[in-house]
Symmetry: C3
Subunit: 346 residues, 3 copies
């Protein structure tokens, strides 16, 4: 159960979700949760027939539901909307922001901040944070405990780093990003050339540029470019334990699920969807709007809006036909071997 | 070589492993190791014919072995048991715990601990740890340097966090757990809905609940639930770099090997074995006792006690037949193409 | 653009790259970058026909190029070499080292260093670093903020740890290594045996030994041996989010790309190349010089210098034939089913 520090009454809720209220308006609510966890001050939602019994049995103070269910949930207060789950998420999002206005911007006395760091306005900096020379922090930036922000990094307004994020020198982070714990931005790209009987490091002197409203999951790593920049576009969301190699360029509003790995110089368009554990070879382009199935291995360019899966990945229809046909392969082999035997016996 | 601070003599060893002692009892031992590293104060074990020469050449002060080898290892002291390796591990485990009684519970002066944190009893808190408001720490909890424990987290008695573990707010951790360095528990689940031309974040206001005696490898991430809880049952062991998505429910005593990835709302039973790099789609159930081969991609429910592998994963017997049949596929293709050509020539 | 704190003039550059200089020698340069980012003080390189227009349009002060292009880049200063990119990387590498001579060895007052730690010479230790009892730090070691180095660890001369690296007790690190942020060395190997109805931990009392000049990418984890040592040989380079299990032995100058996972006791030779997301089962040997394609699953020994791919991985030629043949499988199935039907109709 998520309890909020500020309660909401009928008027506050209707202001966020202007919709039909059915039942008692004289209530105060302070939490959201699943039906079985609810108490009289909880808000839940109901939009699936299969959860109806659970909702009926719930003690929730308010149910957000749709017209189809409005007469099937007893006489408790209801908020009647077209898309209950969507409205519920909008409400929770507003509520989190209301609570968040409590946030006091503070710089912890243990933070080690180079005197040359420039602040655009207010910022929160947690305990044991280190910020290097000439870094820039936009207005409203929040950096939790234990983060490391190297020299010449810029972080634009509203961006939030959870504990123990590392950003290497000269990387640029956009506005209103969220980086979860353990993210590492800007470590050296992985490049070597064999010379004199050993792997010689190719110097990695580019950086990483992250756009606005990018969210990055815990322990994901994005390497700096060899030269130039590794780029992640506005609004792209990256899950946990993802690897993005040097000089990749990822477009806007794309989704990279957990454990995706992109080799160096991969180009990813806008609104691309890469499911979990997808790998992509370097120096290829995945067109905008493409969707790639889980565990796929992308070895060549993917057209815009294509659906691909498999390793090596191919057009999804072709890949599905392969998966179906493979079920018959052992039987086909037996038939083939029988034919061979019959021939030999002739 | 592992050296212990406390030595063991004949009496102490026999107390831990009550078994037949052969040879000199007047010895003191202080380490365990592999045969080639051993000195006169080392304990080693021997249960494999192929390692016999190495054991004979070893300087070890005591060999734990089985009756079959007892006359083949010279006249050095032997401890004769049925399962040498198992007894050896039991001994090492006891010895580690003996040494560990040296542990002094201490709170490092640099730890930033909110005044509202509740302690059940003694606890160790390392340098530069941060613990948020209303957190609860059970008796005997040990938190190494650089960890971050957010507000309203509870950690039950005996649990140990290695350096730089992060636990987000309101998560609940059971008794006698071990979390290795870099683990992140309770970061936001990965959920967005496209609205207004961009990916809108679905608020993630659930938590993570971890049972007792759960061990989690370094840099593994377990996301908080959207609503409700992501759950890991008692005794489950999770290896390195594993990703567990929001609202997953994992049973008891299961094994998740390195780099496994579970999408959101995956249900995993008890005593399930997921080998390395396995991926599972969301909203499916893997039955208790199931064993899934490495790199498998699980896309639908797996029955209890089933053996599955492949991507997409199928019953292991079927998957093995496919692997075998694939070896003949190029030959079958040539035969098929010849038939086609012959037909066309007719 | 990478700006250096020290400028280079004609004489300094010719000393690093002794080659033919064409054009004005009276210049000072202070950066390297891509052609479109360059200003009059930048050095770029040109060796590809397709980038010629971009180079011509660039404001770069010096272009490193080959004899074929020397008359096609206008009258700007050129450095004429056989392999422009290689010479460029050599120059950048020297330049980084020149800049680095500025480094002042310092121990941050917040570092928590056990009094028993031994220093071979100078070392840099950042803020909030913790170093345990009896650790050894070689001359010139640099440990960035937030690292955790446990008791009895030794780190040889010239090695550099980026922020928030963890090294567990008794591990040994060679000379001139680079460990990126979030690396975890020496956490417990993943070993359990079911006993008394639950997973009992097998104690992990070995260590990790890393050779000289090993580079390890962010958030990679290398587990300690159960007994003995997990070993990484000199000059081996390991990318991000790689998992190396307990008791693995990796040779020299090998390349492990991102998200590779090695189960316990895997043996890897010298100059082996494991592409991204490769998995290897335990207790197998990958011979020296072998190259394994991305996402492969290695389930048995791989001969020296072999080329393998696929899951399960096989000889690359065989694997390629399988990939090609799979394209025809759906068609072959239709033909096979037609034959069956025709037979049944006979």
């Amino acid at each position: 159960m998520k309890k909020f520090s500020q309660s909401l009454d009928h008027a506050a809720i209707i202001k966020i979700i202007p919709a039909l209220w059915q039942g008692d308006k004289n209530i105060e609510l302070n939490s959201v949760c699943e039906p079985h966890e609810a108490d009289g001050k909880s808000i839940i939602f109901c939009e699936q027939e299969r959860l109806l019994d659970e909702v009926k049995a719930s003690s929730a103070g308010l149910v957000i539901t749709n017209p189809a269910f409005k007469d099937r949930l007893g006489d408790r207060p209801l908020l009647i909307v077209e898309k209950p789950y969507f409205s519920f998420t909008v409400l929770v999002d507003h509520w989190l922001k209301l609570d968040d206005t409590d946030h006091e911007f503070q710089i912890h006395p243990t933070a080690v901040i180079d005197p040359s760091v420039r602040f655009e306005g207010e910022a929160s900096i947690g305990a044991y944070v280190c910020i290097g020379a000439n870094a820039f922090l936009g207005n409203g930036v929040r950096i939790a405990e234990g983060c490391s922000v190297a020299a010449n990094v810029s972080i634009a307004s509203g961006t939030r780093l959870f504990p123990r994020v590392t950003i290497y020198e000269s990387c640029q982070i956009g506005k209103n990003c969220i980086f979860h714990s353990g993210v590492v931005i800007g470590a050296d790209g992985f490049g070597y050339q064999v010379f004199g009987g050993k792997q010689q490091k190719i110097p990695q002197v580019g950086n990483v540029i992250i756009g606005d409203e990018v969210e990055i999951g815990p322990n994901t790593t994005i390497d700096r470019a060899t030269l130039g920049s590794t780029v992640v576009g506005n609004g792209t969301k990256i899950d946990n334990l993802v690897q993005i190699g040097h000089n990749c360029e990822i477009g806007q509003h794309s989704i990279l699920c957990a454990q995706v790995g992109l080799a160096g110089s991969t180009i990813v368009g806008d609104f691309v969807y890469l499911a979990g554990q997808v790998g992509a070879a370097g120096h290829i382009t995945i067109g905008s709007g493409a969707m790639i199935g889980a565990q796929s291995g992308i070895v060549s360019d993917v057209p815009e809006k294509a659906r691909y899966f498999g390793s090596p990945a191919t057009d999804a229809n072709q890949a599905k036909r392969l998966v179906v046909a493979q079920k018959y392969l052992p039987e086909m082999l037996r038939a083939y071997q029988k034919t061979l035997k019959d021939k030999n016996n002739d």
